[in-house]
Symmetry: C2
Subunit: 321 residues, 2 copies
């Protein structure tokens, strides 16, 4: 319900019309000016009529340009139009520019909130819920979560395969196994940070697909720096422990080097993978929010193990291995 | 900038006043009725004046109740007031109910978006950025991420300690080490799903701290079901492989059982931890979004390893161990 007026009316006629017909209108923020056929030709804020002399013509207040949604627009793009044009209400027209109704911003606020909830749930590695948590049946909670959990589980099975290739090395130096969770979780954490950043920036339109080169460069440097920070901490930790105990044996220095270099490699790999996958998925028309987490987790864990154990083989051959 | 009117005016006087003074007003959606001292006594939507006879008194349109923000209100709670009362503009009063200004919903839409971005970034395990990605300096990107990455890294060091207690068992049965990433990532994934769900529901007010018992019950059952699903897949995988290869040796059935039961235990632990920590952190006045991810990751990984390797010791003692 909205007020449509004609260009040849005076301000006084408009206000009289509003007084007679405005009671059922959802919003009086903007009045819509239509021609004799009902086609939208302009939108003028009601405030213009309130602050103009009563004998001015509607046509004198018009600027012959308006912002409208089309009935075929998606809710998501409607949100963007409200934001870009700073409106609280927008007209909706069909493909012939015939005015069919209005949409107010409260509807949009709910859509924004719902969209963000979906993005957050998808990013947490699950299908978006259809209802609030407390009113979702337990079985539906399980169904929404089981799908991705199974996909992730099957993906992570490759970690066992990857480690299988290094089974002999692990048997010779069990100490290598002890650091596996530490190393792969560092890769996973840096990957999930990078993916979070990029997915949100893409969703807000702060960056576009074409910016992938700029992002790659920035994330490469960030990944190196973060890797050096964690690698140094890991190195110092083993170095320090070796003063007080014999837990790392005589080759503690080589072990410390292995952990340090592996962390640089794994954190760099995690950061670059986490930042590039959202671009790749968006390019392939997948929703980056849905699909990044599992791909990042699997790629980072599997390749991270290979990076770690390859460094170990290189650095420890002839001593521990 | 807003329009404040007096209760003894007529509708015609109000509209004349608006015509004279409305040009600078940010919003004409609602007019504010103040007494002789400037204290806010009511808010009436402009549409009431537009659809009422010109000789009606303002006092006849009043209902002596209004919704206002206080100058001391936080932006976050202001968002909730707009939502609850379905407004596009709200008056702001000081502690003496003196009208000091108005706030429009466009400001709020930005706040909602910014809040959600912060929550998403915090949940991704990093400090919220102050600026959009592309305009943040690389060094600032590193600083915002290094803090949590170091906290997580130090927390995850306990995984090496936990595995150290089982070093002899791993040396005897290296096959156990191969499944470590698979098992702890399943715990981490189910924990992060549960934490995501609960953090968002708490943020939207769908559930409160007092609902923790209901959530615990639901997540306990969800965790059991999800654990049984993954445990069964893990069991079948080892079972099936053992038909075609000798990779798991003669005790493949016990290994399959160990993996199956461990997955049930680890997924249940992850789900319960992930769902309960946000309540605990909120109760302690920490922001659940900031702090849950690292705590869940560390608790789930460390305890998950202990669960897995304890099952292994119980089931494989006398055979592999």
């Amino acid at each position: 319900d909205y007020i449509a007026i004609r260009p040849d009316w005076t301000v006084r006629e408009v206000l009289d019309f509003v007084r007679e017909n405005g009671r059922d209108s959802e919003s009086l923020d903007v009045l819509y000016i239509v021609d004799a056929k009902g086609l939208l030709i302009d939108d003028v804020r009601l405030r213009e009529f309130l602050i103009s002399p009563l004998d001015k013509k509607v046509s004198e207040l018009m600027n012959d340009s308006y912002t409208a949604l089309e009935v075929t627009d998606l809710k998501e793009s409607a949100v963007q139009v409200f934001r870009d044009y700073d409106r609280v209400v927008l007209p909706v027209v069909n493909s012939q520019k015939f005015l069919v109704g209005i949409v107010t911003i409260d509807d949009v606020l709910d859509v924004v909130e719902q969209q963000d909830t979906e993005d957050i749930q998808k990013f947490g590695g699950m299908a978006a819920l259809d209802f609030p948590y407390a009113s979702t049946k337990i079985w539906d909670l399980v169904k929404k979560r089981a799908g991705w959990l199974i996909v992730l589980f099957v993906g992570e099975m490759f970690t066992a395969t990857a480690m299988g290739y290094f089974e002999d090395e692990i048997a010779k130096a069990v100490i290598l196994a002890l650091f596996v969770p530490l190393i792969i979780s560092s890769g996973g954490n840096s990957g999930s940070q990078a993916a979070t950043l990029i997915i949100r920036s893409l969703a807000l339109g702060e960056i576009q697909i074409k910016d992938w080169g700029m992002v790659l460069r920035r994330e490469f440097y960030s990944g190196i720096m973060l890797g050096v920070i964690l690698g140094t901490i890991g190195f110092i930790r083993i170095f320090a422990w070796s003063f007080f105990s014999d837990v790392y044996g005589p080759h503690w220095f080589l072990i410390a080097l292995t952990i340090g270099f592996s962390l640089i490699g794994v954190v760099l790999w995690g950061t670059v993978t986490g930042s590039m996958l959202p671009f790749f998925l968006k390019k392939c028309n997948f929703d980056p929010a849905t699909s990044s987490a599992p791909f990042v987790a699997t790629l980072v864990d599997v390749i991270g193990l290979v990076i770690y154990l390859s460094f170990a083989v290189m650095l420890l051959r002839g001593t521990l291995l």
